[in-house]
Amino acid sequence: MNPLIQVDHLVYRHPGSGEALAPALNDIHFKIDEGEFIALVGANGSGKTTLARHLNALLQPTSGKVLVRGMDTRDIASHPQIRANVGMVFQHPEDQIVATVVEEDVAFGPENLCRLPKVIREEVDQALELVNMSEQKRREPHLLSAGQMQRVALAGVLAMQPQCIIFDETTAMLDPAGRRDVLNRMADLNRMGITVIFITHFMEEVILGRRALLLDGGKLTFDGSPQALFSDAELITRSGLEQPAATRFYYRFPFLFPGIKSPTADFNQLLESIPVYEGTLKAPARPATAGTDNLPNEIEIRDLSHVYMEGTPLAQTALVNVSLDVKKNIPHGLVGATGSGKSTLLQHLNGLYRPQHGHMRVGQFDLTSADLDVKGLRRYAGLVFQNPELYFFEQYVGDEIAYGPRMMYGAEGLRERVRWAMELVGLDFEGFKDRITSTLSGGEMRKVALASTLAIRPSILVLDEPTAGLDPRSRRNLLGNLQQLQGEGVQILFSSHNMDDIAEMVQNLTVLSKGESLVTQPVYEAFTDRQMLLGAGLEQPTSVRLAQGLRYRGWPISPTSVTLRAIADEVTNLVDGGSDE
């Protein structure tokens, strides 16, 4: 039987790039059979999206060939058929929705293929049913949540009845529940016989695939099972990725998981294989983290409510009676599903919104007072937006970073401020100041965004989803930067959909759900409450589940250990301590 897709020594150079530069895709060679489930991984800028776009003829090879069901993608006449066969869901759902009503957007593909009205109606209803969006079919897309929009985008592809669907970082911007939803749907579609190819930066997701393709600098450096991929630690690190948390733990303490052969086995299986602890039962060494209750509050929020477009039929409640305290110098996290009000709350801290109801104080700034020094507040609490690189407004890196300090402090010492901020995030001043922002890699752009806010020297740094869309290496770098800043006395407050980020970075955590603040607790307490997290559309970090699994088998792991490193240290301690006796 013919393969579904055959990629034959594909080379691709971006139009206008000279022969001197390495091609974006270099001699790629593989084939895909019907019904496969493939994860496509690689660092930011390694060529994943470029490769994906070759598979449904959005791009054509510079040399080499791509065949879809035997049709050459260079043959324009076969494009409609290729695109009906291979559908694509993009990363930002709002950019791929064409129509002003959900169901009409879903109908767009079939209409282009000139199917009959009755057939289209059936396909649209079916597709919407499949993604659970039937009830929203008459709504306007821009009023939907990110997760819902992503489902509409998927329905639009499904309605064309494709044999293969490519998901291009579809889960990058979603909350844990939204991610689970997309992942389950991918698996369901695959069971229905649809070939699924997905691009992701979440290493835990890669395990879902039955095959993994790894790109590094435009070259295909690995083609095999995810198990084989993750057992090659050296290759993984070289490619800017990392092993999933559970895999890392498995390799560090293989004796904890007797009988498990595969490092990427199902996580529940891993937990169940943990042997009962037989060492001496010493009370868990409680690290000397005193409670933070006695520390002064840096930020106080009481009964804050916010309604968008108040007084119109489109009014939308974003925050309801939110109350929380942020302790001075204690890194604070904010988690909640999409639409739970995180961004609205963070933007209040920066004075972009004023409290409609309730009170809030940030440092010495009272936001309810009429003569609030807004500029002073913005200098005090710097804000880094979600996907900040989408809103760069200067052409050169240096100018972008200089914008804030120029507005805040004027031209004097500007150069030094920019240099200071760039060096803080690890960007070489001379090397980067004259680079054009749009030519940077994803990780570099995020650094520029961070430096742009740091350059105004805020006392509090507020970040909205700082790691979303970054590959593991860039994410690690960024978290390292933030930890360093916190060490230097900058108060970090950030929101994330990635629970592992939160576990590593913060001490106190506020959980938001549907605009209400559920709890503000030390992070180890909040993460132990599985029901509360699931109810809020979240999940426990892998490390916390692992710690609970160990404790369940009698391992005296301290209740305050939430990071993989802390848990690993304790296990090492217990094992070594045991062998000493």
């Binding site: 767009f108 079939p110 821009h142 064309m160 039929p313 972009l352 937006f385 805040m408 105004i456």
Partner: protein
């Protein structure tokens, strides 16, 4: 209302799905019917006629189950302009006739002038309400489909109506895009010290605030339209000049009745006796 909300909050141009009988009408009937009404209201010279038109439009709003108060809010923004026009009409009416109230050089306040001013206000009110009502009960997509069907005959003489309609559709899709982008860029600049917050200080400073938004708005829009073009490509747009449509509208007796009723009201509006 926050200073960063750019999405138009005007009541005109909003679709409010209440599922009323007017909402379920064939879009072609709505386009033709409302078109007739608007023509009649515009060209009627009779106060009674325009009054009848106003009553009909208000009845339509009630029938559409849209809160009347909400519909009337749409009259507020243009109100100052209408008052100015009416006042000009009061004092500078060209044929003051005999019943003059007072005269001061070229300025003449006459009964005829007052009546004519009232007629103008009445006419604008009615037109604005009619347009709002049309937008309340017709979604942009229905409007597009209706136009598409009504324009189909033009295909035969070689005018690509399909592309034309697609252009309208994508443009409409981009309005919330633009509002959203403008909001984000404004916030990004404000949070780094640009003068946005606080009280707005008159027209000049507000215009000055807008200027730095324009270029980034351009670049982000270009980037987004590129992605959208790609997404359209990926979904096989442009495969054939004539796409099919999921919607089949059947023009039934109710739609015919609707047009006839509106035709009758329009005729009364147009030909009602003057006082």
């Amino acid at each position: 209302m926050s200073e960063f909300e750019f999405l138009p909050s005007a009541t005109i141009g909003q679709y409010i799905p209440t599922g009323s009988v007017l909402h379920r009408m064939d879009p072609r009937a709505k386009i033709v019917g409302f078109g007739l009404m608007m023509l009649a209201i515009t060209f009627s010279t009779s106060k009674i006629g325009v009054g009848i038109g106003l009553i009909a439009v208000i009845a339509g709003i009630l029938l559409s189950r849209i809160p009347l108060k909400f519909a009337l809010k749409g009259l507020l923004p243009p109100l100052p302009f209408m008052i100015i026009i009416a006042v000009l009409q009061f004092f500078f009416y060209p044929n003051p006739g005999t019943s003059i109230i007072f005269r001061l050089g070229p300025v003449v306040l006459s009964v005829a002038g007052i009546l004519s001013g009232i007629l103008i206000i009445l006419r604008f009110f009615t037109l604005i309400l009619a347009i709002s009502l049309m937008s309340f009960v017709t979604s942009t997509s229905e409007m597009i489909h209706g136009l598409q069907k009504l324009l189909t005959p033009l295909n035969r003489i070689g005018i690509p109506t399909m592309d034309f309609v697609m252009v309208i559709q994508v443009t409409l899709r981009f309005i919330p895009f633009l509002a959203q982008s403008a909001e984000r860029i404004a916030k990004a600049q404000a949070s780094r010290g640009a003068e946005w917050g606080g009280k707005s200080k008159g027209l000049v400073s507000r215009v000055r605030q807008i200027i730095p938004l324009i270029i980034p708005l351009f670049t982000t829009s270009l980037r987004r339209s590129e992605t959208m073009a790609l997404a359209m490509d990926a979904r096989a747009y442009g495969f054939k000049a004539n796409r099919t449509s999921m919607f089949e509208y059947t023009f039934n007796w109710r739609d015919a009745l609707f047009i006839l009723a509106l035709l009758a009201i329009a005729a009364t509006t147009l030909f009602a006796p003057k006082i």
